[in-house]
């Protein structure tokens, strides 16, 4: 019995260390990533902050509850001569351990609700992009600019991901996270997106933006993001949409505003010429 208990102790302390490690927000490493990204938008930062808040609440509550459990398991053993007490209930204890979690949840709700309101507020956007999900690609339309294009999995990834392709994915740049045509957006601009789907459900998810919204046939959902740092950000479809659900990535390239406008002008030019 004693050996079992000490095994249990070791195992549990291991689990607690792992939990603590999870909450320590280790710096990003390529592979053994543990935590949520802090992202590059205010929404992502809010998601991260709330995630860390609730994770810490859970960690503290978990350490407290597990410590009591482990103390009980270690201390009140029959093999150590423990004699069972006879108490069966305590209204005082029930009230205390009902009220404390309630207060913690009220605090958590108080912290969370305003963030939800801010995330939902699409007013004052400077431009609108319409996103349409297809099996298995994305279409991006710059609303009012008369320009749209499709974005599909890059050929290198597509070749490597075939069953028995013999290509080692580790040798493919951005395996499964590369597309032929990235969505290009201006940095520092509040962008409203409209999202729908043409066939089945999809979901457009870029972790660095904390944007995840379902693309639903017959619905036009909306949301917004504002990327402050120029850069390339990657994501994936997050709603099961059939056999190639895992193979319709999202790549967003945020350019400084002037560069974006120059890019859009060059893209629109051939289309205009063709129309004429």
């Amino acid at each position: 019995m004693h050996r079992v208990a000490s095994n249990a102790r070791r195992l549990l302390s291991g689990a607690l260390i792992a939990l603590a490690g999870l909450s320590a927000a280790l710096p990003a490493r390529a592979a053994w990533e543990l935590n949520m990204t802090q992202g590059v938008t205010s929404t992502a930062q809010e998601a991260y902050d709330l995630h860390m808040l609730v994770l810490w609440i859970c960690t503290i509550a978990g350490v407290g509850v597990f410590a009591v459990m482990i103390y009980a398991i270690v201390t009140f053993q029959k093999s150590k001569g423990a004699v069972p007490a006879t108490f069966t209930h305590s209204t005082k204890a029930e009230v205390i351990w009902t009220v404390i979690p309630t207060l913690v949840l009220v605090f958590l709700g108080y912290e969370t609700a305003p963030a939800l309101v801010r995330i939902d507020d699409t007013r004052n956007s400077e431009m609108t992009i319409k996103i349409t999900g297809y099996q298995w690609k994305w279409q991006y339309e710059y609303v009012g600019q008369d320009y749209s294009f499709f974005s599909t999995l890059a050929n290198t990834s597509n070749a490597a991901r075939q069953l028995g392709s013999g290509v080692d994915p580790k040798g493919v740049d951005n395996y499964l996270l590369e597309v032929d045509n990235a969505l290009v957006v201006p940095a520092g601009v509040k962008i409203r997106y409209l999202i729908t789907a043409n066939d089945v459900l999809h979901a457009w998810w870029v972790p660095a933006f904390s944007v995840k919204r379902d693309a639903i046939p017959g619905y036009v959902n909306e949301g917004w993001f504002k990327v402050d740092e120029p850069g390339v950000y990657r994501g994936q479809c997050a709603e099961l949409c059939g056999k190639d659900h895992g193979f319709m990535p999202i790549v967003v390239e945020a350019l400084p505003k002037a560069e974006f406008e120059a890019w859009l002008a060059t893209k629109k030019a051939p289309a205009t010429v063709a129309a004429n």
Binding site: V4, L11, A15, E33, N35, T37, A47, L50, H51, C58, G62, V65, F66, V68, M69, A72, I73, F76, Q77, K78, A82, A85, T86, T88, H89, S90, E94, T98, L105, L108, G109, A113, L116, V117, D120, R161, L163, G164, S165, D168, P169, Y175, V200, L201, A203, P207, S210, K212, I216, P217, G218, G235, A238, L240, C241, G242, K243, H245, G246, F247
Partner: protein, 539 residues
């Protein structure tokens, strides 16, 4: 369990207890296969349910092994994406409807009459039928894998329009779901009628063992939730074959409506699975703490609160569908409320152990693992309730980790704990304690190696239901796969232990454990074919 055939005549007389006054009117079970086909005996039917669940554990488990094998490293090595999707869909359907629910109904059949001092279930023929629907329904479900176009591949949630892209197997899937639901409803009716009408004199509602209470509430949840699922899948069927457009936007329908219908069933379903697990653990922890369950009344009220809340939180599965702000706010806050009764339960179990006299037989070990690991699953559930953070967690491996923590070291560990706890009562033999402990440690370690890294994968951005992944997810996926292979193999040991115990072993006493509480321990082990012909009196 064929060894129980004639035991009751000996064992019953040896004890000479009240359970056997009507002995002359009854005979033992019929011989051979017909015993099992035509049986109306709650113990036989309980055994059938439990053995069926054990078989389905390996069917669903084999599918999980295919999934983890493909995810062992990036790239597609073994199966094509469509078959992978069939595996994730079928794994869930089989494990939920074919394994864990039948397992708990098996416990209900065996134990509720014994616990409330009833001679059998109230509706024995219905009981026979509700079991025998299951093998046929499950066979239909599994057979879809071999049909033209393969089995369902749109996820167990069957979201349209994707689920309507299924091949010829689609109506078979719907029919199987209908049958499985019907079986559950019939079983629930039987359980409610039994508990309400057949309690021994003096067994007032608030004297019932907690397992009976949790099942009473579960049965009501089932009756309320299952017809909603049946309606939803019927609408899918008519959309596919009869020209309706309930869920098709092109015809004025609404794909999101299905999600509301599904989760109005689906969230109570979560508690349908976990409440009986709470009940089993609430029987085991007091037994091995040698101390009554702390806060019995609070536990009953907490269970009822969870049952009620389960009907008003469903859309927290749908935070990303684009609900109005008020909807998101309501479902976020109501979901957070569930943490309160759940925390109360965990505190009461802990208080039950406090100043007890603990021993650590296998059922207790699994119950303790349940206590720790279900709590971890509860914490990640609270995290998922936070809508702004859920926009990051939703449909990632973080969700997969969360629900596997509540379903595997939660519900399944409770079922395994219950099996070890009552196997001596069912078979008359003690299981092999040393093997049981080995099974526990292998399971407890490998389940964490499997599912804990999935939290990391989800937080790092890996979507769920993908057959292949970007290379930054490779390391934790490999760890998770290795853990899952270990967990799968460990359950073979469980099957071996169960079979070994059925076939023989040290004879169990009537009490089996050290002064356990409850009527089931007043009858001999193995429990005679007919018990409580004359109702015991409960003081």
């Amino acid at each position: 369990m064929s060894t129980t055939n004639h035991d009751h005549s000996h064992a019953g007389h040896d004890h000479g207890d009240h359970a056997h006054a009507g002995h002359d009117d009854h005979h033992g079970p019929a011989r051979g296969l017909t015993r099992w086909i035509f049986t109306t005996n709650h113990k036989d039917i309980g055994t059938l349910y439990l053995l069926f669940a054990l078989v389905m554990l390996f069917v669903g488990g084999a599918m999980a092994m295919v999934i983890r094998l493909e995810l062992f490293q990036p790239g597609l090595q073994f199966v094509n994406p469509d078959f992978f999707n069939q595996m994730t869909t079928m794994h869930a359907l089989i494990m939920i409807f074919g394994m864990i629910m039948p397992a708990f109904v098996g416990f209900a059949n065996w134990m509720i009459p014994l616990m409330i001092g009833a001679p059998d279930m109230a509706l024995p023929r219905l009981n026979n039928w509700s079991f025998w629907i299951l093998p046929f329904a499950s066979s239909i479900l599994v057979s879809t894998l071999f049909m033209d176009g393969g089995g369902p591949a749109g996820g167990w949630t069957l979201y349209p329009p994707l689920s309507l892209q299924a091949g010829n197997s689609f109506p078979f899937t719907i029919f199987a779901v209908h049958l499985l639901g019907m079986s559950s409803i019939l079983g629930s009716i039987n359980i409610i009628v039994t508990i309400m009408n057949m309690r021994a004199p003096g067994m007032t509602l608030l004297k019932m063992p907690l397992f009976v209470w949790t099942w009473l509430i579960t049965a009501y949840l089932l009756i309320a939730a299952m017809p909603v699922l049946a309606g939803g899948v019927t609408m899918l069927l008519t959309d596919q074959f009869f020209g309706t457009t309930f869920f098709q936007a092109a015809g004025g329908g609404d794909p999101v409506l299905f999600q509301h219908i599904f989760w109005f069933f689906g969230h109570p379903e979560v508690y349908i699975i976990i409440l009986p697990a709470f009940g089993i653990v609430s029987q085991i922890i007091p037994t091995f703490s040698r101390k009554p369950l702390f806060g019995y009344a609070a536990m009953v009220y907490a269970t009822a609160s969870i049952g009620f809340l389960s009907f008003i939180v469903w859309a927290h599965h749908m935070f990303t569908v684009g609900m109005p702000l008020a909807g998101e706010m309501f479902f976020m806050l109501s979901t957070m409320l569930i943490a309160i009764p759940t925390a109360v339960k965990v505190f009461n179990w802990t208080a039950t152990m406090w100043r007890g006299s603990l021993t650590f037989e296998t059922p207790m070990l699994f119950s303790l693992a349940f206590l720790f690991l279900f709590t971890i699953g509860g914490f990640s559930g609270l995290m998922l309730a936070i809508a702004p953070a859920d926009f990051q967690y939703h449909d990632t491996y973080f969700v997969v980790a969360h629900f596997h923590y509540v379903l595997v070291p939660g519900a399944l560990f409770a079922a395994i704990a219950g099996a070890y706890f009552w196997l001596p009562k069912w078979t008359g033999h003690m299981y092999d304690e040393r093997l049981g402990k080995i099974h526990f440690w292998l399971s407890a370690i490998s389940v964490n190696v499997t599912f804990f890294p999935q939290h990391f994968l989800g937080l790092a951005g890996m979507p769920r239901r993908i057959p292949d992944y970007a290379t930054q997810f490779a390391d934790w996926n490999m760890v998770s796969s290795i853990g899952s292979f270990g967990f799968g193999l460990s359950q073979l040991l469980f099957a071996y232990i169960v079979i070994k115990t059925i076939r023989g072993g040290r004879a169990a006493t009537a009490q089996v454990w050290d002064q356990p509480e409850g009527l089931e321990w007043t009858v001999p082990s193995p429990a005679p074919y007919h018990t409580f012909d004359e109702a015991p009196v409960v003081k």
